[in-house]
């Protein structure tokens, strides 16, 4: 349509009221018109102009996509499932690092500046690294509370919310345990919030998002039935955890937490604390020691060897281990490793 009208345009009409927007680029044409009319030449110039215009529009078509930035890879993976090719998703943190401490790079700020939507995990998990990035990015669209901001922790009920926040009791997370996303039963709630947000920001594609979300929800139901069946076998077993990463999953399946290797969240084990754990473990009945990929596993290894209890390294995010490529394979891998 556009191409046709452009080609049909007679040379003399360029200066009339129907001036096309690309006329600004064709400042060579008046001089040419003063010479002998050369229709062949003019046609090739027009063809060139069309190609040029298409080339110029290509990034514009791309820019029409909603640009979503997420803090962690697991959020990017869920968002991709719903947004498909109508959005561009990008995550800041890497999945194999400690989610509490992320070293910022210049590109983080650049990406936050361009973003239309920022999705965070929330519950203070990003408190140590995201606020200064947001301040420096200065993008009002994605600031907390703005239209282009989504805090996923608001869609689930958090556990271990302290009654009073005091440093001595080790309650630095006043909102509760922030690792809620490591329970497959919470993921549909997150997916629904993401669907609502994407549809609100980009209503043109709302139908597309809804149908993709429907497919994802169906797949997830089938998958989590399988996971729940396998995890149900672990009911009543006792475990030790390094950090309280998997409390949501443990509690849902009646797996008992006998202790943590950290004396307090974020504090490496002390000798007296290890002694206490040894006392607990010498009583027997501990099935696993759960260890994450980013903390030192020296203490877990020591206890595992001493009491002949297997240490299980669990991925805490997409990309934490090579097998956890997306949100589904992340839980496949967690369940597989727990079932071994």
């Amino acid at each position: 349509m556009k191409t046709k009208s452009l080609r049909a345009l007679p040379e003399t009409e360029t200066s009339t009221a129907q001036k096309p927007p690309w006329a600004a680029f064709s400042r060579f044409s008046p001089r040419r018109r003063s010479k002998k009319p050369n229709t062949h030449h003019a046609a090739s110039v027009l063809r060139f102009a069309v190609i040029l215009a298409l080339l110029l529009w290509a990034p514009a078509l791309y820019a029409g996509k909603l640009k979503v930035v997420t803090t962690y890879p697991y959020i990017a993976s869920i968002t991709e499932q719903i947004g498909g090719d109508r959005i561009k998703v990008d995550h800041l943190a890497r999945g194999d690092y400690d989610p509490h401490t992320i070293v910022p790079k210049p590109s983080f700020i650049a990406r936050l500046r361009r973003a239309d939507l920022l999705i965070i995990s929330g519950a203070q998990l990003e408190i140590g690294w995201l606020p200064p990035l947001l301040r420096q990015a200065g993008n009002p669209t994605v600031n907390p509370g703005a239209k282009g901001f989504l805090d996923l922790s608001r869609s689930v009920r958090l556990i271990d919310v302290p009654k009073s926040v005091s440093r001595e009791q080790g309650d630095i997370h006043p909102d509760g345990n922030p690792h809620y996303y490591l329970d497959p039963n919470n993921i549909p709630l997150l997916a629904r919030s993401i669907l609502t947000k994407l549809s609100a920001l980009d209503s043109r594609n709302a139908g597309y998002y809804r149908s993709r979300h429907g497919e994802f929800a169906k797949l997830w139901n089938a998958k989590s039935a399988e996971w729940n069946r396998k995890l149900a076998l672990l009911k009543g077993k006792k475990v030790i955890e390094y950090h309280k990463n998997f409390d949501y999953l443990l509690r849902r399946h009646g797996i008992l937490l006998a202790g943590t290797i950290e004396p307090l969240p974020g504090i490496p084990p002390t000798s007296r604390h290890i002694e206490e754990l040894e006392k607990i473990m010498s009583g027997g009945g501990i099935s696993f020691i759960l260890q994450d990929v980013y903390n030192s596993d020296d203490a877990s290894r020591h206890l595992s060897k001493k009491f002949n209890v297997p240490m299980v390294k669990l991925p805490h995010d997409v990309g934490a281990v090579p097998a956890a490529e997306g949100i589904i394979s992340l839980f496949d891998e967690i369940v597989r490793r727990l079932g071994q």
Binding site: H100, T101, P106, Q136, R167, G266, I267
Partner: protein, 250 residues
């Protein structure tokens, strides 16, 4: 994007401005680790404030600890035989004390790092300008007073000014960046014999920081660590060039 890198670059220049002076002096006196020791004492003060006062009075407390560290070194300079060992141990004392104080506080280390090792990327331009004004004034005081003082008072002035500077620089850019900007340009400048050492150090620091910031942007590397890396690499490379051959080549 450029505004952030410009502000990081200006900050590195402001830091080189004052620290090159201190750097030439600490290398001459053979007390390079004074910076790390004082920085760590300031950090200990911040940790104390965080743990006992919930983060109140963080600046005065850390400044007090930094001054205490500075005065201890000034005293040790006159009364001990192995000053460098004393300074090194003061550093070890500071860093271990921080860990001990914060071991009773959940996520205390993360909270602490958030307060202390602020990233060079995140310093707003207003803060950079404020620091530039303060350091220029401090530099002027040192320039006019330092050579008039003698003996203990000279040391007292030096270590007090150094403690004040290190406390606020560490707050802006982190211990490691401050250390590298202190030692690296001064060390390279000392390889070129002659006069105007300070101006040479400034020029060298400017070039190194510009290279680091551009590299950090182009290759998307953590800005703070890139500044440290480039400055250190530059100084190590220059130090390894044999002095005599270089002169022969000229």
């Amino acid at each position: 994007m450029n505004d952030i890198l410009v502000s990081a670059f200006f900050l590195s220049l402001v830091l080189v401005g004052i620290h090159a002076f201190f750097g030439l002096e600490v290398i001459r006196r053979g007390i390079i680790f004074t910076d790390l020791a004082i920085g760590q004492m300031a950090a200990l003060g911040a940790a104390m404030s965080l743990f006992f006062l919930d983060g109140a009075l963080i600046y005065p407390v850390s400044l007090a600890f930094a001054l205490l560290g500075g005065l201890l070194i000034a005293w040790a300079a006159r009364h001990t035989d192995n000053l460098e060992a004393f300074i090194g141990l003061l550093y070890a004392f500071g860093i271990s004390a921080v860990y001990i104080v914060l071991s009773k506080s959940a996520h205390g280390m993360e909270e602490f790092q958030r307060l202390m090792a602020s990233d060079i990327l995140f310093t707003p331009l207003e803060e950079v300008i404020k620091t530039a004004v303060i350091y220029t004034a401090l530099g002027a005081v040192l320039f006019f007073l330092y050579r008039r003082f003698e003996g203990f008072w000279k040391d007292a002035l030096f270590f007090t000014a150094f403690a004040v500077t290190v406390t606020s620089s560490v707050k802006l850019a982190g211990v490691l960046i401050v250390f590298s900007l202190l030692v690296s340009p001064a060390l390279i400048a000392l390889r070129f014999d002659g006069r105007f050492m300070l101006i040479k150090a400034w020029a060298i620091g400017t070039v190194a920081n510009l290279a680091a910031i551009i590299a950090s942007y182009k290759l998307d590397l953590p800005t703070g660590y890139t500044v440290v890396f480039v400055n250190a690499l530059f100084a190590i490379a220059v130090s390894m060039v044999p002095r005599r051959r270089r002169e022969a080549a000229q």
